[in-house]
């Protein structure tokens, strides 16, 4: 298990596949944004908490074991949260 440091958060992204009626699966290999659930937060993160659903920009972030470590500072990569 990875513990994010400082202003970073650990995000479990939703899969990027779309199923159509014809059972053909379309996959977008490099989406501009991803949606995901926050699993844990660093000690300096105040405006996000565990369980929040956020939309973030995956470029220049750290991806490890299928999870994303994203900078949650105001100049960072998280665009908005749903709840």
């Amino acid at each position: 298990m990875i513990s994010p440091l400082d202003q970073n958060v650990l995000i479990k992204p939703e899969p990027i596949t779309e199923t159509k009626l014809t059972n053909i699966v379309f996959t977008n290999p490099k989406p501009a944004t991803r949606k995901g659930e926050i699993i844990s937060v660093g000690k300096d993160v105040e405006w996000l908490k565990k369980g929040d659903i956020v939309v973030f920009v995956p470029t220049n972030t750290v991806e490890t074991d299928g999870l994303f470590l994203v900078d949650a500072s105001l100049t960072g990569k998280i665009l908005f949260k749903y709840n």
Binding site: I2, P4, N8, N60, V62, T64, L69
Partner: protein
């Protein structure tokens, strides 16, 4: 010669910034780009501390830094026959990797860490994976040595921005040694 607050004074040989002799050790940091290796590896240079100021550095310590630090001629105090004395700032964005101790090991300074990259092979009880097929994780490492007052501890497994680590290659008395340097600001998580 005494340094002022927030700065330290070093000296180096203008024509031989990659070689220095201290005590009984001869230290050499080669330019990797000159020998057609990875161009991404930078050009470390050596200098000797005259006055460490507020840092733990003492007179005579040998520090390894990025070459651009010593090329800032505006901060040169004097240049006597190619032996340059200069004042350098002590800030987090100034790239001083560490100092070399009496045994030839790199002691990290200013939020740097010395790490070991993690290698992962195929899991099999019969086949032993040769080193050439082992996958090197390019954003995970185990911390070997930390700088003073670091919140990261030795032995922890860190996750950092991909390609932000720096392989410092140096020779002590002709024997090659390597140290993987990672800056604290590039570390995003700890794997437990």
């Amino acid at each position: 010669m005494k340094s002022i607050k927030g700065r330290m004074i070093v000296k180096f040989d203008l024509h031989q910034k990659d070689k220095v002799t201290f005590g009984t050790l001869k230290l050499y940091v080669p330019n990797r780009a000159d020998v057609n290796e990875n161009m991404r590896e930078g050009y470390p240079t050596l200098s000797t501390v005259v006055d460490g100021g507020e840092t733990e550095l003492k007179e005579g310590d040998v520090i390894v830094s990025e070459h651009t630090l010593l090329e800032n001629t505006g901060q040169w105090i004097e240049n006597i026959d190619g032996i340059v004395t200069m004042s350098i700032p002590i800030k987090s964005d100034v790239v001083i990797y560490g100092k070399i101790d009496e045994k030839g090991d790199v002691i990290p300074l200013f939020d740097n860490l010395v790490c070991e990259r993690i290698q992962e092979g195929f899991s099999s009880s019969i086949i032993i994976t040769p080193d050439i097929y082992k996958k090197v994780e390019n954003n995970k490492a185990i911390v070997l040595r930390v700088s003073k007052n670091s919140d990261i501890k030795e032995g922890e497994k860190i996750v950092y921005y991909r390609y932000s680590d720096y392989e410092l290659v140096y020779f002590i008395d002709g024997i090659e040694r390597k140290a993987i340097m990672v800056k604290r600001s590039d570390i995003v998580g700890i794997e437990k």
